[in-house]
Symmetry: D2
């Protein structure tokens, strides 16, 4: 495996082609039918045992799933764009997760690598100097864009799959390549974890392209500071009435939603650490002279740890219920996303640091960075740790053209082969333990 | 009875003495021990059957009763100021209502006259030009003052009692003289009505000195526009905590009370008529750095009619409960006063108009005025009407020195004998029907 | 003119054809290009002097005008549906008011009749039993529908124009037929009044089909209880920021709009009469994890009279400004509609009552009804009264299939010829005074 | 100075007597006339140059000063309890700070020790087992109590003064003993600092008895985590009106205060560190049926550092102003207390740690503890650091009977001589540098 860096470098053009094809066909949370079909197809061809659909996605714990209509249209589009109907069929209802498993002859540990596949709901810029515009791989899907680099993640995952398959005789233990839907909005990990997909994992690795800085060629070995978070929608239903003639006959959903929004922002600070609350969207009412009978509020809470986030969400739910009572309206709440906080495994991280450093392939090797945001990879990591394994989240530095989720986001594709090679080496290393 | 006007005029000095004695010894709601004892004593001496205490006050429906400590102190004061212990004893617990009944030889109707006895909780002015200061009958009781003329009402009631007793051979039917405690805060009428005191009444009369204008010598024969009202106290109890170290451990009663106050003022207008809401008092918290665990809110609702007021109060109670839930605190509510709206009996009012007019004793006789406020006399009137009787509320014009409830309030005592004579004539008239 | 009833009856089929054509091509406020062109064309052919565009609409006082884009598209549609380009041109910018004037040989008074032309922004039902569906005149314009009978009003106005023209020798004085745009949202009358169009009017008449009841064949001679009203939009602009990483850098437009909504509903009741406030629409924010930088609030105030409505609006504007300050955001307010209250002219109304009654054409003649809503006809009426004229608003009873503004609204077309005849007779009568 | 520990131990009875005398005569912020007079008197007798009154208190920056009436009464009481009129005179207006200065023959640094003198506004328990009750030194002043150990601080300060004076030949440089009024409510330090009293100080030391734990015999050498804080009162003034008859004429101070309270708790969290807001007191309104024209809100903000606290206070002030505008009332704000955060001087702290440890007098020596609260000693420390000096805040462990500010608070007097000796040694050490 000494020449793994050369092999990966030789795959660069193929990786760029894969990445640009994915970029051109972005699919957001739970509708990654085309992306997941490509993944499943390639893994199969490489000799992996491939699981998808209900085998790796627990329907009951899927969060923030689009309507059936949206799912159906997305399936149609995927098919029209060349997705294999057999795979799409298995992913019915949005169960677009894929897991590729390979057991090696040499005994060893179970190592999992996790890659997220979904795009953002962002309309890609049309500016001429934007690389995807210049090179002809701008998103073909209105309102969807890979603005967070998940196209790169999938590309790296497929390259790792190929490198490992090529070197399977030298590998030990078992490798699990996990392709997750719906990381945006922290919606997908929980449903994969619920099927037990990482319950046997000894070492878990994931990471992100260019997350924390525009430091091209940097590699960060551990990422801390995952905020626990919950995403909640609240739908208020009252009774409309004519605002001039009979206001007393109405039950005002707009005022309930407004009172909820203000009350939510008055949730007490927590003495044990940082907390956050944001009502990001409020929509209520239909006409100026109609007492409003419908309102929706979309919010999120965060906490420095899961306990603090649970305090915030518990307060939030009680308050939303109470403001509904305040204006005598009904309310229905739905958790549409969420992620816990998670701990760092410093021993594993330190080993990674030594391996990355000794590779001499990165211009800068950082032991640890702070995220200060939420990533539902924490669901996987927490479960692996609960079961006695170790888990680490890394960062692959890449010069970014614009911040994540920005319509001009783009990264330097040079990071793709390097990341693939490094992950392959790490997978081999931890399998041998 | 032609010389009733002369007789009343001859009683003027005595009436002024009575009024000034009462003015000097004001007693607020449910503590009219001295006042009521004087009334009971005089009625007894004049030959009336006298009921008081539990006979005319239903304990279960008394509203806004002071604490036992306050009642005890007031009883002591009344005794020290000459009240008869036998009467005071019967009025134990604040049951300070008195009813004097006289049946006449000639058959006829049951006529009731009602007079309210309580003072305001107002500190009387010390200005030299204020008549009570000048003439030495300023209130001896700190923070209490007859600033609404009820001292005059009691005086008129006692004079009527005397005039009727003197003319009892000429009267027909039955007369009931009702002396009510706690009209301020609309607290006392409900508990008298609940004992059935007006259930047999055919004609009911009450009224007020100088209520609606400073028109000396005016007499208004009917008063409409009684607003229904409810007075409510809400006590919030949460959990204190250190605002710096552990705000998340508190349950904030101050915020609950603040949210309640704002929400209450957002109760919908009513399409069928006027409504009112007022949170008049909010007190919360003990120290700046302590998360507040106690709050009280004192409010009132009003409505053009009882239905509208009930809409307001039903909304108010639900909202108060909901704001307690909003901040996870407990709340206890207490109705401390209230009055319904009531209808006018125009036929009876028209007869009064003719009689007053033909007396030629008043400079101005007005058929009807509008109150636009609340008076719990409406409890009596509503009951009389329910039972098939008729009821009217009048106004006895008198030049006022300042508005009702003002610390400089005073009226022209000339109105006292005139009102007494006119009421006597009306009582005779309706008894004969 | 005795046979005016017969003539009108003979015009029934033509009137129905006109009404159904208008119903099929509804145009909402300020985009009545096709409707107004038809009106202008017909009045011209009948010999009226016809004014439109800037001559009868003051651009500076137009309220709630759609965007230029919407206006342009509506003009295109009108042209494609046969509107005369010459008329459409004159109405550029939405100045779709039309006035037809005819001076008669016989001297007399100036009489104005006013008809409103705009449709609602309501999607018409597709139910088979709905008459327009059954008879093939359902709205061709998505989201627009004549659900308030203005198609009938225009039809009556054109029939009156024809009847008067036919009888011009028998008429006295001057007739002004005023066709107003934008009554819905009370947007159009102010801009017509501002051009002085009724400054010389002695008698002003307007009315509504089936407004107050489903009483087929009823005619109500006077309508009172016009509530003064103002329609206001408030646009809040703050600063977005990431809700997790840097909430302190944001300025929260959503919270400003929520606080405004609640505060607005806490505006004090008014002691002198009914008031109303309704925040009918609130829309704020774009994404759950973004501190919201944009919000809009759409509201209306009403008052039993103009003074009370002005109190409400003055409170509302101060509160909106203050809640913007509260959350450190900017706010822009726009009045998009409004109407004053107005007085009834009972003398004129009484004359109408006699004339309608003596016609023996109506199953029920009602002297006066109460609107309890807003109609910007009050702008015309108020101005006529200020200038010394008299003004009356009537109701033409018609069996309704559903309430006004309902997607199943429909009226009995029998009322059309009757109303036209009656208005013609009234116009003649008041011209002769 | 080797026998300093013995000397201090020998002074124990005297120190206990002093402490109990002070405990018996507690004086809260700005009224420490008796306490400060005793301090000034003793320092003078010991040979210190003594400054007090306007020399050490800048009137313009005094915060939270009681009314003149309260100050006058307190002065009278102090005099009646034996305070020297000459000293009390100099402290007129509440300028009760005292500074004792002694220059030593040997050259060296300027060392300052700071002691706070004021009591709490707490009514001391009457429980028999409470030491001050048992031993007869319970507070003689109703509602005032040394419940935070400042009686101990003053006692230690006076003992240090005596020990240093006794050893002045062995000392180097200059010693400044600073006795500060008004630490409770963080009111007094700012006004002392403003007179320049620590501008020449090289080493500054202060500390607290038993602050962080009940660890008898513990000594903590550095205290970090001082929260910056501001204490603010806001007085709202509106216009009362009768809530039934003319609510529209009022301007509602209660609703302004309620809206302010809720808005204040919705101030955004800060991404850079902990923040706090607490509205601890809200009082508004006088009567249920009167629209409230007066309200007061008492609040505090805190921040992990001064910048965050300033963000909080700047938001708070804008919000209070805006809620006043919201309900059209006036508002007056007054800062009645405050303290910045401050940095730790670890080099100085480490030296202290070595000295304390080597003394072998304490059962436990802790390098650093975390306060997580506010102390206006930070004003002194910040200024010393700005001028190039170093500053440290320590903790003197003592078994507490109840928490600080509790009515049963009491400490173990054993800590007094030990603390005095240790401070004397530290003063000598830093003077010699």
């Amino acid at each position: 495996m000494e020449n793994i860096w050369l092999k990966a470098a030789a795959m660069k053009d193929k990786m760029i082609a894969t990445r640009r094809d994915l970029h051109k066909h972005p699919e957001s949370a739970w509708i990654e039918f085309r992306t997941a079909s490509i993944v499943a197809e390639r893994l199969t061809k490489l000799g992996y045992e491939v699981l998808c659909g209900a085998d790796v996605i627990d329907e009951a714990t899927m969060m923030g799933v689009p309507t059936t209509e949206v799912l159906m249209q997305a399936q149609q589009r995927a098919l029209s764009e060349g997705a294999d109907p057999a795979w799409v069929d298995k992913m019915n209802g949005g169960k677009t997760g894929v897991v590729g498993i390979m057991h090696f002859a040499k005994p060893g540990k179970v190592v999992a690598l996790r890659f997220d596949m979904d795009s953002n709901e962002v309309a890609e810029t049309t500016e001429a100097e934007h690389q995807p515009c210049k090179e002809g791989f701008r998103s073909l899907h209105d309102g969807l864009m890979h603005a967070c680099g998940h196209d790169g993640h999938v590309t790296v995952g497929l390259a790792v799959a190929e490198l490992i398959a090529a070197h399977q005789d030298e590998m030990s233990g078992t490798i699990k390549l996990i392709f997750q839907p719906g990381e945006e909005g922290v919606r997908g990990a929980k449903a994969m974890v619920a099927t037990g997909v990482v319950d046997d994992v000894d070492y878990f690795l994931s990471g992100h392209i260019g997350f924390n800085a525009n430091r091209d060629g940097m590699f960060a070995c551990m990422t801390g500071g995952f905020l626990a978070t919950t995403k909640l929608d609240a739908y208020f239903t009252g009774q409309s009435s004519h605002a001039g003639a009979a206001p007393q006959e109405g039950r005002n959903a707009l005022l309930a939603a407004a009172a909820a929004s203000i009350a939510l922002h008055s949730i007490s600070r927590h003495g044990k650490g940082a907390s956050r609350i944001n009502v990001g969207v409020l929509e209520a009412g239909t006409g100026r002279n109609i007492l409003p009978d419908r309102a929706v509020v979309k919010l999120e809470t965060r906490g420095a740890d899961t306990e603090i986030n649970e305090f915030m969400m518990s307060e939030a739910k009680r308050m939303i219920k109470a403001t509904a009572d305040l204006y005598n309206v009904e309310v229905k709440m739905e958790e549409v996303g969420g992620a816990p906080s998670c701990a760092l495994d410093e021993v594993m991280g330190q080993e990674i640091f030594e391996l990355v450093k000794s590779s001499k392939q990165f211009s800068e090797v950082v032991p640890q960075v702070h995220l200060g945001a939420s990533e539902d990879c924490s669901y996987f990591m927490q479960r692996v740790q609960e079961k006695g394994g170790q888990a680490v989240y890394m960062m692959y530095g890449s010069a970014l053209k614009a911040g994540h989720h920005n319509s001009s986001f783009d990264f330097n594709e040079d990071c793709l082969p390097k990341s693939a090679a490094m992950l392959t080496i790490l997978a081999k290393h931890f399998g041998e333990k």
